[in-house]
Symmetry: D2
Subunit: 367 residues, 4 copies
């Protein structure tokens, strides 16, 4: 079965392995008439680039995107946009024990069992590099959201035990620290924690939060394609995500109706909510408040400690993973979360356009 | 846009409002040759039936299912199975303030804004009764899983502040208490808590856990249709779910690679994991361990306390919701979670069948 | 695999066998705010009803439709519309040789081989009664097209050797003869031909033409979802259709560019074509001219003559089909073709709505 | 809306314009374990290459394919296969009148109206070069069919008025003449006809027939995804196709049941048909006989004669198309038809795998 496509109207299809010739994405269903350049996409790709800090790998990955189709004279034409990034690190080298051993916490074992064998070079399709296509598509989706006055902002809420409470959010600081946390002081503490983890040959998990403002009311389709359901799929499709929540999330389970319900009120003719425990979604549709969601990332599974595991011959063995690996996935995944949210919102905004007969008549200029 | 269909090969389409003539589901892509009777489906529907305890509404809903198509001489034929449940409570009555007021925590406001107006009788399509179609489909999916030796078991892990720890699980007790908790003693405490909530005209949230055993390795499709991603959509599509997690879930964010990684080992020729922090899914595919997932449900939004809100004329107003409402959604949602998981697993098992050329040749008896 | 759903945004899912309890359709993605009553749908169903002439079966089929969901106070709500028609003729009777024998020209053999067995009562899912769901959905689609000033008109162009040439079209006569031909005199000749066929225990094929006027320009999506491609699927999905063509159709193969090209010209500011060999579609999109298409129907395979065939035990045998069967499929299929075209056009009109960024901004009232 | 993807399980997504940087296709859902090299694909692409005869353009298009993903050590891995062909002819040149004028018979007008503007260089996305992606995917599909002992063979049945009757088919001659006709003598006559057309600055249409042998019985899904319905969409999605038919096709409309029905008989334990008027499909499923289909192609719309048309400013004007254009589309489209049929068959074969519970249990080795 397929599985590499996402979206019904604004549909992205990603392809590529970490050590194959290239990685890319095709965006089908992008409207005509959007100004789009390689720089627009490159800006997004650069945010997931390594080498930004000592907590991201120093491997030189100059991910240069090329637009292969779908634009003419600097504008989208309505035809599919094909985006390509060549892999630099394709040279044949010794993958040694990795080729024959199932790394704990990785997809080596499941890929091998599903397909009969696997591309063992750097994780193949399950590599973090697979997200390049998602981020490139996210850049295009973001241009559409911008035209609709919708803003998507993701950041690192937690790094291991260091969490930024909502009362300590300083959104202007997100871009001022290398972990993309909305608080420079706590980012400093998180850096210290990560330094310690590296010294211990260990890694850390973390939480990314994403806030969407400016969404029109009523986006999301009832029942199976609820806005939170499709966002849920989008986020869980990112490798390493183990939990997703909206608004009060998991903690809503321990709350009461009297406190969890968000009262409505009218101000200046606008219906608003006094609180936003719902995270901006009611009955699977945007309610006009900010959409607030969080994704929990597990710690990087590649650690330098000796691990017990099994090889492809079905024998118990020990594994030491060489090379440098990020002690945390979160900083580089911030733009991935933002991209998946953007891609989802665009698709749901487009799906919403045929929901009312009066608006369809207006669109086609009949009565 | 649609949104009432779920699944690619084993595809269910639900329809119906709480106070319309009927509610139902069409299951397309169900294989031929499965013994199926109305009793099989009724058994599932009865599990979500009210009137089982004082914490579920006493309204008389005798949800009798009728099979309208897709079977012949007691067996599925491979053609779509249409299942129908007539609504008993359709009589026109006074919906009073409900018709004109947006209930906090409900979808009244978003439906009205999306569609221009809404069916205000009992929540319409956003009613809990919409899950009847899901549960009926879940009954059929469960018959398929049974043939494949796969077991799905859901239960109430938490009711408000009362949580059953893994060490206290007694699965045989799940069916022995009215809250479907795997611990009768804690169920007793939870009942006391709910009684108190009712006295306070309040409601409670809770957590449902679901454990799948017997899954073959390698089910789930890479990238966007990862097993956890599709399950995530399935669970978030259930009204009132605000958080979903797999294995260690949200808490993985605060853990380290050295403790979160599950080591592999071989025993009797079988690859196994020493722990199951991953919740049975690696790289988006089943890894042979139990699949463990949890969904957090918000408290019932319909409470008897006076609430601040807005009416359809855009005026601030107060609302008192009359009638009896469950103080908690969780007990009746246990079978809904089980059904959505079953439906998803069947679809992903079918999607997996064309993944290897050697197995396709075996299927079609060529070399 | 599924196969009982059609359409991406305006999506219909049909279900039901000829001799099961009922037959129906679920329409998902129908916009809110359309006035819809059971009478609207009944009017369409009555057009495919037998008993209208001696060339359609006299079996009493009073196909009464019931709306089970998706409307409130006479208007569509945007939620799925479930439509149900009970089968009257379900009594257990002796299907005799039919149960054990593969009827030539029918799907008995292929169903049996695909699914291992089959519902042998009256063709099961492959019965002409399957089209009831399509026609019910077509009635709803037609209401949408009416609001958009688009008209779909189908008629019998040929009955066996009797063909109405374009120069002899009198559209007002279509509803004046029992064969739905646009020429009463030729319909008379066709009736004589059919009477002869019946006397010879034989049957006849025919051609249905459909003309769509009022389509906006640019409907249809490039490449695989071209308007003619999706219409092609829609028409070939109707049992008994063996050929489909647009505009000059098959005869375009023998023509030349100089005569087959339609020249453009401007009149009153409107771009028009001097001829319409293309049948209203250029590059897979509507070009503003009438869409003209034809579907060729094979003769009714159930004939009263003795036929050579094979039984389920793999033995050669003879078959005589008893009971009364229409000597021609075409008259009852006219409304089926019209319905499938209407359903397809609505879906493609909705798909078209997100094709231009400027129009999307206009829809969402941003710049 | 999208429209650039085809197939549900074996899904292809094409992209690219004739004068953009490149053209390509992503194949998702291709099984693991198939030997695949660039040579396999190149062999197919070379069959649609110009420069093979005086009836195909002499422009130098060396379409070299590159495999960017989805293979490892010469075998498919089960992950998406991305195939890329660079366009050679991208240099900016003077498109002169073409840029401002709507060419009759082309998609210039409809693209412009749909999207607000168009890529006027060589037809953009509506160019014949768009089929490169289809053919590359067809090469992969053909490798799968080969493993299943299924053979797909397409050829030119008619060139203008020159038609090869079934009794004159010599399949070994197809590759011996430049028009891919199954009869060298008639191909010679057709060449003479085309030479005359070129002298008259005119073009010709033609018919491609495709025969599939070795199909298992029962492939195709009832109702909307009938084998002929999906093949119908596949063929009409090829630019210039105006008619499609199966078996006796359009002529079935003038025939009788007694002659059109194919009688079954048993020979050596195999159920067979005495005739094949149905073209190998009954009830939308393969019946074990050869699948026989035909597609009628209109004449090349680009002719050197002066044509009446309209420009983008809405003014009447005359157009003379310069440059060399094929006087007929058919020879280069033979491999396109073969490819679209192959891609469709693979998808339907995969869809069929979950149709029987006993076979599913066999696949997963349960009872």
């Amino acid at each position: 079965m397929s599985g590499s496509s996402f979206g019904k109207i604004f549909q992205i299809t990603t392809w590529g392995e970490s050590h194959g010739p290239a990685i890319g994405v095709t965006i089908d269903g992008c409207p005509a008439g959007i100004s789009l350049s390689e720089e627009d996409i490159q800006a997004f790709l650069d945010r997931r680039q390594p080498g930004q800090s000592k907590f991201t790998t120093q491997r030189k990955e100059s991910d240069q995107v090329e637009i292969l189709s779908g634009t003419f004279e600097g504008k989208t034409t309505g035809t599919p946009i094909s985006l390509l990034v060549r892999n630099m690190d394709q040279r044949s080298r010794d993958y040694g024990n990795i080729a024959e051993v199932f790394r704990p916490g990785h997809a080596d074992y499941t890929y091998t069992r599903k397909y009969g064998f696997r591309d063992y070079r750097g994780g193949g399709r399950s590599s973090g590099r697979e997200t390049i296509g998602r981020v490139a598509a996210g850049a295009v989706a973001s241009l559409i959201l911008k035209r609709l006055d919708i803003r998507v902002m993701a950041f690192a809420k937690s790094i291991g035990p260091v969490t930024v409470d909502e009362s300590d959010y300083h959104f202007d600081e997100i871009s001022q620290n290398r972990l993309f946390m909305p608080n420079n002081a706590l980012a400093q503490k998180a850096e210290e924690y990560l330094t310690q983890m590296m010294a211990e040959k260990d890694s850390s998990g973390g939480i990314i939060e994403c806030i969407v403002s400016g969404m029109p009311v009523g986006i999301g389709e009832p029942v199976f394609d609820k806005l939170d359901a499709v966002l849920g799929q989008a986020l869980f499709s990112v490798g390493a995500v183990k939990g997703v929540e909206f608004g009060n999330g998991m903690s809503a389970a321990a709350s009461n109706g009297s406190t969890n319900n968000d009262s409505f009120y009218v101000e200046n003719g606008q219906v608003q909510k006094m609180t936003n425990h719902a995270g901006g979604i009611l009955g699977g549709m945007s309610d006009g408040s900010d959409i607030v969601l969080r994704a929990a990332f597990k710690p990087t599974p590649s650690i330098a400690q000796t691990q017990q595991t099994v090889n492809v011959h079905g024998e118990n063995t020990e594994l030491v993973i060489h090379g440098r690996h990020d002690p945390i996935i979160v900083p580089r995944a911030v733009v991935v979360v933002e991209s998946m949210v953007a891609v989802t919102l665009v698709d749901m905004l487009f799906q919403n356009m045929s929901n009312r007969m009066d608006k369809i008549c207006e669109f086609y200029k009949t009565k």
